[in-house]
């Protein structure tokens, strides 16, 4: 009797079990949208008005957090990371670096002065940025460069 019942329970009724994938796809899209909205990947904006120098020993940045970007164009203009805001003089540059340093440190990151200078710009303009960074207490400086021409 018992084996008959067991056989009856296990009897194939002809309906194949299929998994409904639609909830999983819904969840995947929801997760995708969630991460698209909340993620804030830190990337350095590229100023198209300048071409950095070439250095084959340049290495990829270990971390993009804490970067304080100053663009130095070929005419000596100092531009913020947004690639639009020009800094008229050394005082404006120092003010910008100081504010950015405080912002970065408040997030617990080590500030790094990231200089993107045009390869043709006279170095005296870059020196001004370095000096302004030293004045506000920036400890590290990184020069943007391409690995190859």
């Amino acid at each position: 009797m018992a084996s008959d019942r067991l056989r009856a329970v296990n009897k194939d009724d002809g309906e194949s079990a299929e998994m409904d994938m639609s909830p999983m796809i819904d969840m995947v899209f929801l997760l995708l949208l969630f991460f698209l909205v909340v993620s804030n990947p830190k990337t350095i904006k590229i100023d198209p008005n300048l071409t950095p120098s070439v250095a084959e020993n340049a290495q990829a940045a270990k971390s993009k957090n804490g970067k304080i970007v100053v663009n130095v164009r070929d005419n000596g203009d100092f531009v913020k990371e947004d690639t639009k805001s020009l800094m008229a003089d050394g005082a404006a540059l120092r003010e910008y670096l100081k504010a950015e340093k405080e912002r970065v440190e408040s997030k617990g990151n080590e500030p790094v002065l990231h200089i993107r200078s045009d390869k043709e710009v006279e170095f005296k303009y870059v020196q001004r940025v370095i000096k302004a960074g030293a004045t506000v207490g920036l400890k590290q400086v990184a020069y943007a460069a391409f690995n190859k021409e």
Binding site: I44, I46, P52, S53, V54, A55, E56, N57, A58, Q59, A60, A61, V72, G90, V112, L113, H114, R116, S117, D118, K119, E120, V121, E122, F123, K124, V126, Q127, R128, I130, K131, G133, A134, G137, L138, K139, Q140, V141, A142, Y143, A144, A145, F146, N147, K148
Partner: protein, 158 residues
Amino acid sequence: MARHKKIQAPEEDEPGLDISSLIDVCFLLLIYFLVTTQIIKKEQELSTALPSTTPSETPPDLAPMLILLEANGNISIKNETGVIELLESDSDARKLPNLSARLDLHKSAADMSSSKALVQIKVDGDAVSQRVTDVLNSLAGAKITEITFTDLLDPEAN
């Protein structure tokens, strides 16, 4: 004979999603992005420490090497006897073999004396940024990170 003929059950209509149009659109998008994408060269960096972080309370065991970069791109060093020695004069050359060789020697001497290899760079303000990068590139190649620019006290540089 007719009695033994089995009656076939009518086939169930299974609703199926036609994904061919989805694949068409995906391929169209793929081709569009393949055609329109511009590959941007990835920027790297050369890292150094600012002069203010290089303490000079105690004199270093090994004297720092002084590199001089002129406005025309000439690169010289001040050797141990105080004589200025021209090493590189081709401002279009990105590789600086003579300077690299001297930097390697300096680094080896520093390693042997268990001290840090210090380098000072005096750059003419009119020198182009690429030429300074060439020097920094050679320093990175020699794995020298203690770099000081000596011209930051220039009164015009503010």
